[in-house]
Subunit: 178 residues, 2 copies
C-alpha cells in the first residue's frame, strides 16, 4: 500500500498513537488502513468411499490436485463460501456435515477452513479454474501431486478418522521455518 | 475505497473480466482490490466456576460487558490473537483448551472465533480498552448488559455444556433480518 484508498494521498508506515504496531496511515485524511488475515474456505466432498479432487488450471500449483477452496467473500458465511467454491471449481453440489479442519498459515496471513460434506450426485466436472475433477479412493489419491500441505493434512486426517467413524474438528498451525 | 492504494488514481467499481462480482478496479495500474471478511478472535477465560468478562471502555457498546476479543492481526495465528487480546483487554494470561465457538456475521463481514481457556492466575485487570475486568459465576453474569450476541451465545453454550462436561465446537450463523 502506497496511497490512501480514501483520499489518494501518499500513506506513511508508522505506529499510530495508542497502537503498538506499524500501520499504513494517511496524514491527510487521518485514515488508518488495517490489514488482516484472509479466510480460505473449502470442502472435503465425499461420495461413498471416494473423495473429490480438482486438478488446478491456475497458478500457483498449476496441474496439481486440490480440494475445492478459495477466498471467502464479503456478505457470505464460511459454509456458503465453501459451497460456492465447490460449485465454481468442480460444479459439485454438496451437503455439508460440519466444520472439519482449521489451519493457520501466519507467514502468508491466511486461515483455512475445510468442511466435510457429501456429494449429492455425480453431476460434477471442471469449472474455469480446474483442468479435471475426479473421485479417488484412499489408495488412488495422488499423494505426490497434491497442491498444498493443508490438502494433504485434511485428507490424511479424513482417511484416519474414517476408520473410527469419528471426525473431531482438527486445528493446526503450519509454521514455516525461515 | 475511492483511490488505488497502489498508484493513487481513482478506482472504478465494476465486475472484472472472468469474475462475477463487483470489485474496486484501477484502470491505470490494472490492480483489482479485493475486500474480504475479517476474523475476530477471543477467549472464554475460566477460573474454577467463574468466567472473566471485560467492561468496554470503547465504542461500540461502551460500558457493556464482553469476552476479550479483537481483530486478528497479520502474522499471528487465531490462538495467538485470542491470547493477545486477552492480555491487551484484561491483562489475563490464559491456557487455551481449544476452539469453542465460530460465528458468521455476513452482514458486517466478520467471522468470530472464541477459544475456551483457563486463567493461569488471578493477576488480571483492565487494559486500555476496558473499564473493569471481573469474574462472574453463572448466576452473576450481567445478561442484560452484554455487549454482543456472540458473547451471550458463547456464555449460554458454556454454562449448558459445563453440566455435561462436554464442549463440542459450536458453529452458528447470525443472520440479521433486513
Amino acid at each position: 500500500m502506497k496511497y490512501c484508498a480514501n483520499c489518494g494521498n501518499p500513506v506513511a508506515l508508522r505506529v499510530p498513537e495508542g497502537d503498538d504496531r506499524q500501520r499504513h496511515v494517511c496524514d491527510h485524511c487521518d485514515t488508518v488502513h488495517y490489514q488482516n488475515p484472509r479466510i480460505i474456505t473449502g470442502c472435503l466432498p465425499v461420495y461413498e468411499d471416494r473423495v473429490l479432487l480438482c486438478k488446478r488450471a491456475i497458478e500457483p500449483r498449476y496441474g496439481l490436485w486440490t480440494l475445492p477452496a478459495g477466498f471467502m467473500e464479503n456478505g457470505e458465511t464460511t459454509e456458503q463460501g465453501a459451497l460456492r467454491e465447490s460449485w465454481e471449481e468442480a460444479r459439485a453440489t454438496i451437503d455439508i456435515s460440519g466444520l472439519y479442519t482449521l489451519f493457520n498459515l501466519p507467514q502468508i496471513n491466511q486461515v483455512y477452513l475445510f468442511y466435510r460434506g457429501h456429494l449429492t450426485n455425480l453431476d460434477f466436472g471442471p469449472g474455469l479454474e480446474s483442468l479435471e475433477v475426479e473421485l479417488f479412493t484412499e489408495q488412488q489419491i495422488p499423494w505426490d501431486e497434491l497442491a498444498f500441505p493443508v490438502v494433504n493434512k485434511t485428507l490424511t486426517h479424513y482417511f484416519s478418522d474414517r476408520r473410527e467413524n469419528h471426525y473431531p474438528i482438527r486445528s493446526e498451525d503450519l509454521i514455516r521455518r525461515r
